[in-house]
């Protein structure tokens, strides 16, 4: 909300320096967003007369003008399309400085220059170049009778002001006006607040004799004040009024509309003026309709207003959308001679919904939806009437009607002073609190030594509880002034959660393996999601802003593929990525909520080349085994190696188990998916459920030292010929199970098929290491074991020893 410094100064004496006020506003919760100056002193700018206009020889859009500046004739090149002979204009002569600055805030000095080869000795100014407005549609044309060659400041009124734009939090409807802001400042600075005198109406009628007002929807409209004023004359507003409104960015319309806007920005009460002749039968009804209603608002836009929205109607038709915008059909125009001023209280929720549905936030709806002062309706109407009578002394108030079905209930809150001290952590003087509260309009009575009885004013609907009053004290006292607590910072003996430790350890280990962490979107498009399963098994958002964010990722794979593709397109030779994040799927029971599965996963992915051509080796692509080695290193470093089993679940997929529960898999990305993401090299990834890794991680207990063996072990190599379809894992498991406890380690040192091996067979060579903690083993000790292993393999898998 924009505040005019001159205007604000009418209600409270402000410091010279606007910065001081702006900073203070921020510190009392009315945050300054921007402060700037408007208006100009017009120094050096003079009036001129256009004598001749010729086409520029080298540029279609430019004209070459000859201008009389009172003493000589100047040649000025001008780009405006509205330039004409005989116009009186504002001229910035050579070496003069414009009242505005360039984008960098530097002054603009007019120089003698050639524009497309034609000499230009000055500038004919547009309004924006003089700081009057943002209008750059053409040059500023002065009245015909303007004297030539005189300072522009003599013929054009120039108004200077400073504007503070503040952000108002939704709990502060009282601060949406100049008086409201001045009230806060007066409480902060302990200075006097000057409120303009407002006349009391001669008589307030509840039932008018000239105008009848009826509220059908008393839930939506708590109070409606109508003031019927006759003998008005619609004309332009006087300069002071225009300056006030234009300073805060409003357009001056006419005297009546400007006054309603003025009072709204002064007091916070939105007002509306109807042309009383357009109100059929002089009857006002406040009601809503059960179906949507087409309506043309005064901005000449036809709107479809949803059912339930509150309308102001006459006895035939709607004439305004309550609290949002008036109608074209009853708008004040040049022909208007009598008006009905509306000053009402509409229920905030109702106005908010309507403004939202219409996507139409107006200065009025902005205030109504926060909750205006329900006790201000008559005063604001009278303030506007006073101003109308001041501008139009012959106008006459016919009657003031106040229909008031819902009355405001005063709130009284008891404030415990020890509680203030306890919660803010500082002792604050009771007199200071009372003084501050009174300045804020809160009446206080000291009921006992430690208790204040507080009457909340009608303009502070946000003050409902004791805690809200404590906040008011803190707000004005300034949180920056609260001293450090005497007890200092406290510490905790609680250990880090194991879940956190587990996740951190996983991250740390993977980084150690040389992977770069990525963060990918957890919302993907349906089209993309389709590649990763059935949409019906996934969780979708109901109202995404765009189609790119419809479905919650069922896996971390799409994010990795996207990142791999992004980097491939930017000529990265290879990627080595990991991500830790949540995935979502539909589940009968669900993790936290019925129907929704949400689990933390970790993904490791590689694609492209491990390294480029190098003097030591030709470039080589990542392989499945690279990823498998890293995965096993990770699992081992988490202490999980001995719990893991693997099974080849598909030609390109290896599934991992802990105690027969699948915890994840390593996989080669299919050709089809590779194509979807435009990846031309093989992609391998491993994805694991961290929640399940965590279960094993926390159950492993503390590290127990095992003595280093004193006796040397012995190695034994066997090469086996097996059918091609029997995988290594099967043989390894069989060997482990039959070799007994002396077996320490098995390696596979050769895999061979081809010459000398029968078709559909392969040879796998194993190196077995045996160790006995109590003695040195010799070959005789292990021969029986080997024979046993071979016999068993032969029996189960028809395996032969390769001779």
């Amino acid at each position: 909300m924009k505040l005019s410094y001159n205007w604000l100064n009418e209600y409270i004496s402000l410091p010279e320096d606007v910065r001081e006020t702006a900073d203070t506003l921020t510190l009392i919760g009315l945050e300054e967003e921007e402060t700037f100056s408007i208006g100009t002193n017009l120094e050096g700018i003079i009036t001129g007369d256009i004598l001749r206009v010729e086409k520029h020889p080298n540029a279609d859009r430019l004209s070459v003008c000859t201008v009389n500046d009172g003493s000589s004739e100047l040649q000025i090149v001008c780009g405006a399309s509205n330039v004409q002979v005989g116009q009186k204009v504002a001229i910035a002569p050579v070496n003069s400085q414009l009242p505005i600055t360039d984008e960098k805030g530097l002054p603009i000095v007019i120089k003698k220059t050639k524009l497309r080869g034609v000499l230009s000795e000055g500038m004919i100014c547009a309004e924006d170049e003089l700081g009057f407005s943002n209008d750059h549609s053409g040059i500023m044309v002065l009245p015909e009778n303007t004297p030539v060659g005189v300072p522009l400041s003599l013929v054009v009124e120039s108004y200077q002001d400073q504007i503070i734009d503040i952000a108002i939090t939704p709990n502060r409807p009282d601060a949406t006006s100049h008086i409201g802001v001045a009230r806060d400042l007066s409480a902060k600075w302990n200075t006097e607040l000057h409120i303009p005198k407002i006349s009391e109406p001669n008589e307030i009628k509840h039932q008018g004799s000239h105008i009848s007002i009826h509220i059908d929807d008393t839930q939506g409209c708590h109070r409606y004040v109508g003031v019927l004023i006759e003998n008005v004359k619609i004309e332009a507003s006087p300069t002071w009024l225009r300056n006030r409104l234009e300073a805060i960015g409003l357009r001056s319309i006419n005297n009546i509309v400007d006054i309603t806007n003025y009072v709204m920005h002064e007091m916070g009460q939105p007002l509306h003026a109807f042309d009383a002749h357009e109100i059929s039968s002089k009857k006002i009804r406040v009601k809503h309709f059960d179906s949507s209603m087409p309506f043309i608002t005064l901005d000449e836009v036809s709107r479809d207003v949803p059912a339930g929205s509150l309308f102001i109607c006459d006895d035939q038709k709607p004439i305004a959308i309550a609290g949002v915008m008036g109608g074209e059909n009853s708008e004040v125009s040049e022909k208007t001679t009598s008006i009905l001023l509306e000053s009402a209280y509409f229920e905030p929720g109702k106005i908010r919904k309507c403004a939202k549905d219409l996507a139409l936030q107006t200065d009025a709806s902005y205030r109504f939806e926060r909750g205006i002062d329900p006790e201000m309706t008559v005063r604001a109407a009278m303030r506007a009437s006073d101003l109308i009578q001041q501008l139009l002394p012959s106008s006459r108030i016919v009657e003031v009607v106040d229909v008031h079905p819902v009355t405001w209930q005063p709130t009284n809150i008891s404030l415990s002073l020890p509680k203030v001290h306890k919660l803010l952590g500082v002792e604050i003087d009771t007199n200071w609190i009372q003084r501050t509260f009174n300045a804020l309009g809160i009446k206080t009575t000291e009921t006992s030594q430690n208790q204040l009885d507080c009457d909340i004013p009608s303009f502070r609907p946000d003050l409902e509880r004791e805690i809200d009053l404590i906040e008011e004290i803190g707000r004005i006292f300034d949180y920056n002034n609260i001293p450090s607590p005497a007890h200092g910072i406290q510490i905790s003996t609680e250990p880090f959660s194991e879940w956190e430790t587990c996740k951190q350890k996983i991250t740390e280990k993977i980084v150690g393996l040389g992977y770069n962490e990525i963060y990918s979107n957890s919302l993907i498009s349906e089209e993309e999601a389709n590649h990763f399963g059935e949409l019906s098994d996934m969780i979708s958002t109901l109202n995404p802003l765009t189609k790119d964010m419809t479905t919650l990722r069922p896996s971390l794979l799409p994010g990795f593929l996207k990142a791999a593709s992004y980097n491939k397109n930017r000529k990265a030779s290879g990627v080595r990525f990991f991500e830790l994040g949540n995935v979502f799927y539909s589940a009968t029971e669900g993790t936290f909520h019925k129907g929704i599965g949400e689990q933390t996963h970790v993904l490791l992915g590689v694609s492209g080349r491990k390294h480029d051509d190098h003097w030591l080796a030709k470039s080589s692509p990542y392989t499945f085994m690279d990823l498998k080695a890293d995965t096993h290193a990770l699992l081992a470093s988490l202490g999980l190696a001995q719990h893991i089993q693997t099974r080849v679940s598909d030609q390109d997929e290896l599934t991992y188990y802990i105690r027969e529960h699948s915890i994840g898999k390593l996989s080669k990305v299919s050709k089809a998916l590779q194509k979807t993401y435009e990846l031309d090299e093989h992609v391998y990834y491993g994805e694991f459920n961290v929640n399940m890794l965590y279960e094993a991680f926390i159950n492993q207990g503390t590290i127990q030292f095992t003595p280093i063996p004193k006796f040397p072990g012995i190695e034994y190599d066997i090469a086996l010929i097996v059918r091609s379809d029997i995988d290594a894992e099967t043989l390894l498991q069989e060997i482990s199970q039959t070799a007994g406890t002396l077996l320490q380690k098995i390696d596979i040192f050769d895999v061979y098929e081809g010459e000398n091996i029968a078709q559909n067979n392969k040879s796998i060579a194993f190196r077995l290491q045996f160790l006995d903690a109590n003695k040195t083993l010799n070959i005789k000790d292990i021969e029986p074991i080997i024979n046993n292993v071979v016999r068993s393999l032969n029996k189960k898998y028809n395996v032969e020893l390769r001779s």
């Binding site: 803190g474 910072i489 905790s492 040389g514 963060y519 990918s520 957890s522 109202n543 992004y566």
Partner: protein, 335 residues
């Protein structure tokens, strides 16, 4: 001293050893089995015992001199890298580079924040990203028609008329984890809750439809605004250096009362500006009531801040979308 010995001493001292051939020649001439020194030792048999003792000592000294001269020259040659055995023995050749692992800048920032909170005695908790209306809004004192509940800002996952089945949303902030924590744990509670949150907003350099927050919660007897302030100041000093300039200003959040925000001064004294870095406040009594904690007995503070915002400030990143592009040239900068 024997003349031959004197002569040899003289010769050795004068020998110039400048090539490896010279060195070998020297060795053959003096130190080999057929060399001059061995020859002298062989003549010892013809000497008297007294002569033998003196002569033996002199020849031995000579031998030491020759040996030292030889070793000195040899080590001189070894230190000269003038001779290469093979082109690939060049130790200055580059190795095959290992990929250096890295955490994402958001993780890095988060790690830093976590370690600061750990010093302040805070634990770490987390909760689901798909959240119900109660935890995301109602328990946090959002009135039924609060703008934040509007479909425009919130991603809905489930919405229906049946009051028994809660609406589900993608959490719009990490504050619902506060509620979960207070539901299951009695005070004292001192925890931070980092996590991913969602806003149904158009993507631009300044905003993204998901981002990360860290929420901090402290509930105990006698927790005051002064405690909150002290924690906030300690945090920003540890995060941005002890000379950081900051200010607190009143604000509004439905779930805290009083509410305040913290700004830090960013940039030089002349051309810098205040930047909002976090929102905070004292836990609203209505929030305590929603989780059955008695606000007459306990008080607490909460605060929340954006991880992206912290990272953007820290690393001077100009476009929030950069975080989610995962360009390897970006990621490698955060090793």
């Amino acid at each position: 001293m024997n003349d031959a010995v004197v002569q040899l001493i003289q010769q050795i001292k004068e020998t110039q050893i400048s090539t490896s051939q010279d060195l070998e020649d020297f060795r053959l001439k003096y130190l080999s089995k057929k060399g001059a020194i061995q020859q002298l030792f062989k003549t010892m048999g013809s000497l008297t015992p007294q002569e033998r003792a003196t002569f033996g000592k002199d020849v031995n000294d000579l031998k030491v001199l020759a040996q030292n001269t030889f070793e000195e020259a040899q080590s001189r040659f070894e230190n000269q890298h003038t001779v290469l055995n093979s082109a690939t023995d060049d130790l200055s050749l580059p190795p095959i580079a290992k990929n250096i692992g890295s955490v994402h800048p958001l993780t890095k920032t988060l790690q830093e924040m976590k370690s600061i909170f750990y010093r302040l005695g805070f634990n770490i908790a987390d909760g689901p990203e798909v959240e119900d209306d109660f935890h995301n809004f109602t328990a946090l004192n959002f009135p039924p028609n609060h703008p934040a509940r509007d479909t425009q800002d919130t991603f809905f996952v489930r919405k229906n008329e049946d009051p028994a089945i809660p609406d589900l949303v993608l959490r719009t902030h990490t504050s619902p984890v506060q509620i979960r924590l207070m539901e299951k744990q009695a005070p004292p509670i001192r925890s931070i809750m980092p996590g991913r949150v969602y806003r149904n907003e158009a993507v631009s350099p300044k905003s993204y439809f998901l981002f990360h927050q860290v929420e901090a919660l402290y509930v105990d007897h006698n927790v005051s605004v002064a405690d909150l302030k002290e924690s906030l100041i300690t945090f920003v000093k540890l995060m941005y250096g002890s000379d950081v300039t900051y200010r607190l200003r009143p604000s509004f959040f439905p779930f805290t009362e009083p509410s305040l925000e913290m700004d830090i001064w960013w940039g030089s004294k002349e051309s810098g500006k205040w930047l909002e870095i976090l929102g905070s406040g004292m836990v609203d009594p209505n929030v305590f009531k929603a989780v059955n904690i008695d606000p007459e007995i306990y008080s607490g503070f909460a605060w929340g801040m954006g991880v992206e915002r912290m990272a953007i400030l820290k690393y001077e990143i100009d476009d929030i979308r950069t975080f989610y592009e995962n360009d390897i040239r970006f990621l490698h900068q955060f090793v």
